[in-house]
């Protein structure tokens, strides 16, 4: 036992000596290593704050407090020079094109301007989205005030304008969002500057707010029918708020249209939607919605680049589909108003049932027919007064976004009377051009002797129009029509 203790002690002494040697060595090499690590970590920050000599993380509690309202912030550092705080470095992230983009915003505490920004990790498209790392982009943030909400434009000049990289909208917008967010957090938690309180709205609260914005003097909104509200002030009717939706780029776009009793629009508001952030979502902004106020509620509003005429509103460049969706929803609201609340002689826009739609299409292919009889699942006969005019053959083929159903009308003498394209999921504004007359009309009168093909400028007997930029959708329709032609051939 005594020997064991002796051995144990000896070992302990050896270990102690070793530890002592290491401690000594650490005292020499430790600082050098720490210095180097700090440089690696803070290299980017030193570019933004050349005079800084120290970066200190803020207290955990404070960070947690900030994160409650700004959940995307991961780190906040106090930037010090000679012991006093000269600024802050806020690290956060925002959703970009390929994933989250990490941004560090350096803010000068002395004048509340942006000292600079630095882009961290991201997965943006090489040679396009990753241009957000270029100084030519990040430098446009230097010196900008934190007290104003920044906007991204092609050629920044105003105090609150920063660079938007052409062709990399979403990446640029991600950085913009991150910086605006960091600025907001800074003002709110690190300065005494008054900032509008962050309002946590529920969907209901948002809806209520938007409605009241359409009629600010109203003290009462009553629902008289589904999706239709009366706006009253002191018992007097001011106007109506009509809610409609329309299919946009990313999904349904809900629109609130306010119509005064004098038949003019009091304004529109766009609700929660899934349009492209920074682009399609501009339909929510005043710059767009304001162009509707005062327009006459006659239901033929159109969006153009420079609105001037009575029925013209603003087309948002680069967000055609979103804009058209909003305009369509407003026109529908106006239509409802006209039908229900005026004597105007208008046809209500009615949602057709599938059957009604089908019947309408059949009628368009054979206007003279008075009777359609089914031969089999895909073939119908069109007759007029008992006499066979031709056939309507239903086929479908896989397009870009899914199946494309096509109705092909063939007269008894083997010529196409026309085609109609049914419900599909092709790209709105591009692939969906296959539904338009400009395309379908090029099938009229074509023969059924050979297969049709799509070309840029159709001239021959077997050529139809190729929609530029929508090759896959076009080919799907052509394929379906050729199949219909084959079926026609087997009928005789």
């Amino acid at each position: 036992m005594k020997e064991t203790i002796k051995l144990g002690v000896t070992l302990l002494i050896i270990a102690a000596v070793a530890a002592g040697i290491l401690a000594y060595s650490n005292s020499i090499t430790g600082p050098i290593i720490a210095e180097r690590e700090k440089e690696e970590r803070y290299g980017a920050l030193l570019n933004i704050f050349p005079d800084a000599d120290e970066f200190v993380e803020i207290e955990e509690d404070k960070l947690a407090e900030v994160q409650e309202t700004h959940s995307n912030i991961t780190e906040i550092l106090e930037v010090k020079s000679g012991g006093s705080i000269i600024g802050y470095a806020i690290s956060n992230f925002a959703g970009g094109y390929g994933g989250d983009v990490n941004v560090v915003t350096g803010i000068n505490a002395t004048d509340n301007t942006i000292a600079g920004i630095s882009i961290g990790s991201h997965s943006e498209t090489p040679d396009l989205g990753d241009k957000i790392e270029d100084p030519s982009f990040t430098d446009t943030y230097k010196g900008k005030p934190t007290t104003e909400k920044l906007v991204a434009v092609g050629s920044p000049s105003a105090a609150n304008e920063v660079q938007q990289i052409s062709g990399a909208t979403i990446s640029s917008f991600a950085v913009l969002t991150a910086v605006n967010d960091a600025n907001d957090a800074y003002l709110r938690y690190f300065t005494d500057i008054e900032v509008a309180p962050i309002v946590e709205e529920t969907e209901e609260e948002k809806q209520e707010r938007l409605i009241s914005e359409l009629f600010p003097e109203a003290d009462e909104f009553t629902e008289i029918e589904e999706n239709i509200l009366e706006a009253k002030s002191g018992g007097n009717l001011l106007g109506y708020v009509i809610m409609t939706t329309s299919k946009g780029y990313g999904g349904e776009v809900p629109v609130l249209t306010g119509i005064n009793v004098d038949g003019t629009l009091s304004g529109i508001r766009v609700g929660t939607n899934s349009e492209t952030p920074g682009l399609g979502t501009k339909i929510e902004e005043a710059a767009f919605t304001d162009t509707f106020a005062g327009k006459a509620a006659t239901g033929d509003l159109k969006a153009v680049a420079s609105p001037s005429a009575e029925n013209e509103v603003q087309m948002i460049s680069g967000a055609t589909v979103s804009t058209e969706a909003a305009v369509k929803a407003v026109n529908e609201a106006i239509n409802i108003y006209q039908v229900k609340f005026t004597d105007a002689d208008v046809e209500p826009i009615v949602e057709e049932t599938e059957e009604e739609k089908q019947a309408k299409l059949l009628g368009e292919l054979f206007p003279d027919a008075d009777e359609f009889t089914e031969v089999n699942e895909n073939v119908k006969e069109a007759k007029a007064g008992g006499e066979l005019l031709g056939y309507i053959i239903s086929t479908s083929s896989k397009g870009y976004g899914g199946d494309v159903p096509v109705l092909t009308g063939v007269s008894t003498d083997g010529k196409l009377t026309g085609i109609r394209v049914g419900e599909n999921s092709e790209t709105p504004g591009l692939g969906t051009k296959i539904e338009e007359a400009e395309f379908t009309d090029t099938f009229v009168g074509k023969g059924t002797d050979s297969e049709l093909k799509a070309v840029a400028s159709p001239s021959a007997e077997d050529e139809v129009l190729m929609i530029s930029g929508a090759t896959v959708s076009t080919k799907a329709v052509v394929k379906a029509v050729n199949e219909a032609i084959e079926i026609f051939g087997s009928l005789n």
Partner: protein, 205 residues
Amino acid sequence: MKLFKIFKNGIIDENPVLVQLVGLCSVLAVTTTALNGLSMGLAVTAVLLGSNIVISLLRNVIPDKIRIPAFIVVIATFVTLLEMFLNAYLVSVYRALGIFLPLIVVNCTILARAESFASKNKLVPSIVDGLGMGLGFAFAVTVLGAVRELFGSGTILGGTDFVINVFGDAYQPAGVFVAPAGAFILLGIFIAVFNVVINRKKAKN
């Protein structure tokens, strides 16, 4: 020249990597380039020298029953000293060796030399043995590293300012050589070749 025999022993007859087959973990992992191999070889030599010296000096002081733990403490101390030194002054080497730097502690060579030689011999022979074994190790890993680098990346002395693109830019490197698989296979072949060469020499004598 007994000392020379000890030295030669480390390089050839009992080459730690090619004959004794110890410390192979580091061998395989770090020999992706000649430079990495050399760095590891020199690192091991440094630790081996240090530990052999200390253990030889203390051989009459360390009680027999706790000698293994004591050796481990000494070796671990030298390894840690090396870690600190590299991290502060030669960061690129520190990073290249990565986790295999602390793993030098369990490099069987060092413990084996401590146990079988340094604890039983005087200072000078221990130094020579350390040098021999260390350089034998360094030789093996550097050559292995060079071969892997040559075929796996097409360069020699990559990582230094003297890097030579031996096969030119059009060379499509055989990545397998730089991967673990290549290491295994090449080492196997290397050992086989080494065996043949040594055996032939012995047969001649």
